[in-house]
């Protein structure tokens, strides 16, 4: 059984069919890439999986549980973390506080324990901090720990967002264009991290990405979307050779059309 199974998912915005009958299977332990031209519905699919949109029909099943109509704040508790295409960080908080928020849903201490700072709340803080430091070490964020997000360069902000998602201890992580806006060095680091997330942390990755070099390097399987429908899936090579994918990116081959 796949870890995440999306079946016949459809989402409309007024007259626009953002997603039509999308099927997608993400196996446990793989890195799965979603590609497609702008407006193909990749982010819409992410928003449907993470509970921000309600699809009109179809379902998303995670670990055998239907999550199609689950509220967005309950999704991470089931084990799905996500990042955003346009950064959604807590801009006026420090890097440390941002990542600590990833531990929010793991908190056990009650309101009164926290208000009086009893030992339970204290231990919870230390435990959360210990876990957060592991993530900071993993992504080499040590120099930025006490910096406010708004003062950091874009690449580092993206990295913090990834760290925050990892701090949730998810089983599946959804990365929405993780390499967008990164320079080539940062992109290389990102590729290594995604490999490590898969190999060492054993977290399944579903990512949207336009940078085909990244996709080729990290993805085990690729699904291509165009105008809200799946047009191809398979290994990166297979999908890139697929005539429908080439057509979606490059348009109709006039020569071929004329000779046909």
């Amino acid at each position: 059984m796949p870890l995440l199974e999306v079946t016949e998912l459809s989402k409309k915005f007024g007259g626009v069919h953002a997603l039509t009958m999308v099927n997608l299977q993400v196996e446990k332990g793989e890195v799965h890439a979603l590609i497609g031209p702008n407006g193909a519905g990749k982010t819409t699919l992410f928003n449907c999986i993470s509970g921000f949109y309600r699809p009109e029909r179809g379902s998303a099943v995670f670990k055998g549980r239907d999550i199609t109509r689950t509220a967005p704040h309950k999704i991470p508790r089931l084990g799905i973390a996500r990042t955003f295409q346009n950064l959604e960080l807590f801009r006026n908080a420090t890097v440390l506080d941002n990542i600590m928020l990833g531990r929010y849903m793991h908190k056990r201490a009650s309101f009164f324990s926290e208000a009086l700072f009893l030992s339970k709340a204290k231990n919870q803080e230390v435990e959360a901090r210990r876990r957060v430091e592991e993530v900071i070490d993993f992504l080499d964020l040590q120099p930025y720990r006490d910096r406010v997000i708004a003062q950091l360069p874009f690449g580092t902000q993206k990295c913090v967002e990834l760290a925050r998602a990892l701090a949730l201890d998810p089983e599946l992580i959804l990365l929405d264009e993780p390499a967008a806006g990164l320079n080539s060095e940062e992109t290389r680091d990102l590729c290594f991290w995604i490999e490590d997330i898969k190999e060492d942390l054993e977290i399944t990755v579903l990512l949207v990405e336009h940078n085909m070099r990244v996709v080729n390097e990290v993805a085990d399987r690729v699904t291509a979307l165009d105008f809200g429908a799946v047009i191809a899936h398979g290994t990166p090579e297979e999908v890139q050779q697929h005539p429908d994918v080439i057509q979606a990116y490059l348009g109709e081959d006039d020569g071929a059309a004329a000779s046909a």
Binding site: S50, G51, F52, A71, P72, H73, K74, I75, P76, R77, A81, R82, F84, E88, L89, F90, R91, N92, A93, D97, M100, L101, G102, R103, Y104, M105, K107, A109, F111, E114, A115, L116, F117, A121, K122, Q124, E125, V126, A128, R129, R130, E133, A150, Q151, R164, L168
Partner: protein
Amino acid sequence: MKFKLKKSYMEDLKLFEYKSDMVGYGVLLVFLFIFPSWAGNYWTYNLTLAGIYCIAALGLNILTGYTGMISLGHAAFFAIGAYTVGYMTTILGHSFWIALPLAGFAAAFVGLSLVLPALRLSGIYLAIVTMGFGFIIDQVILEWPEVTGGANGLLINRPTLGPLSLNSDASYYYVVLVMVILFVLLTKNIVRTSMGRAFVAVRDSEVAAQSMGIPLAKVKTQAFTISGFYAGIAGGLFAPLINFIGPDNFTIIESINLIVMIIVGGLASIHGSIFGAIFITLLSEFIRVGKDALPAFLSQQVGFQGAVYGLIIMLFILFEPMGIYGRYLKIKYLFQVFPLYRKDTFRRERKFQKAQRTR
């Protein structure tokens, strides 16, 4: 500059990072404890009042500064606290010590019931709803004389503590001082644990907060209820201090007063709430006394105090958006790095703050 080698995560959770902080706060505490003995009744009374506003400002800062929800009706929570104490002690004859926590809980409960319809609102719309709530409570006070004394108001005596009478300004000052210390510690605990971080998360990005597993409705309700509790306790302490409460004490000007305190003091900061409360309390006293020195057309002008507040808010937002606390941090920094401080040291931050305001 001070550097400290930290060897455990526990050290980051300490109340005082450096020994010198502890000495500093210790000196402050001693100063506050001996204050009534040399300052005289007038200043003791004013500092007590400032202390009460500290509690209310801390509560409002949790709501507005940390969670980003604006309340223009906080005087209503203050009034609920004051009238709960007034009703319980003067009309029902219960002890002040039972009435005070009840004042907090009553205001918290009303906050809870107000937040349910207000949950879907934010920004200016929430401000309008809370303002309307303030007017409603104003009317209730006037039209419910069995409980509130109506337009005649209520007389409230200072409480006693066992055999001890707290009738003098100095003795009541200590009651308020202890309460302020307790509430500062409570606020500190709230903002340094996951609860406070969730408030900040909701303020900065609701979408990201949800994707961290933070239930927006619950966190906003929490912020509103806690904030109401603070204002209720502050109101409960306020009533016996001034001995008489009437509808005039809890108008919209009082709500704006609290907003001014946290903006001038510094949003999302405990120090800021305290600086702001003291500054504005002393300022309004200063305006009251100093007005006589001004020409009649100014001092007799209706809304003179409001105009001064408006001017102060404008100046702070333009020149020191982080409030008195921001200035305090800069002065502290100046001493820490002493010969190295340059005029432009904080230019980037200031530019950033100004740019942020358009968002």
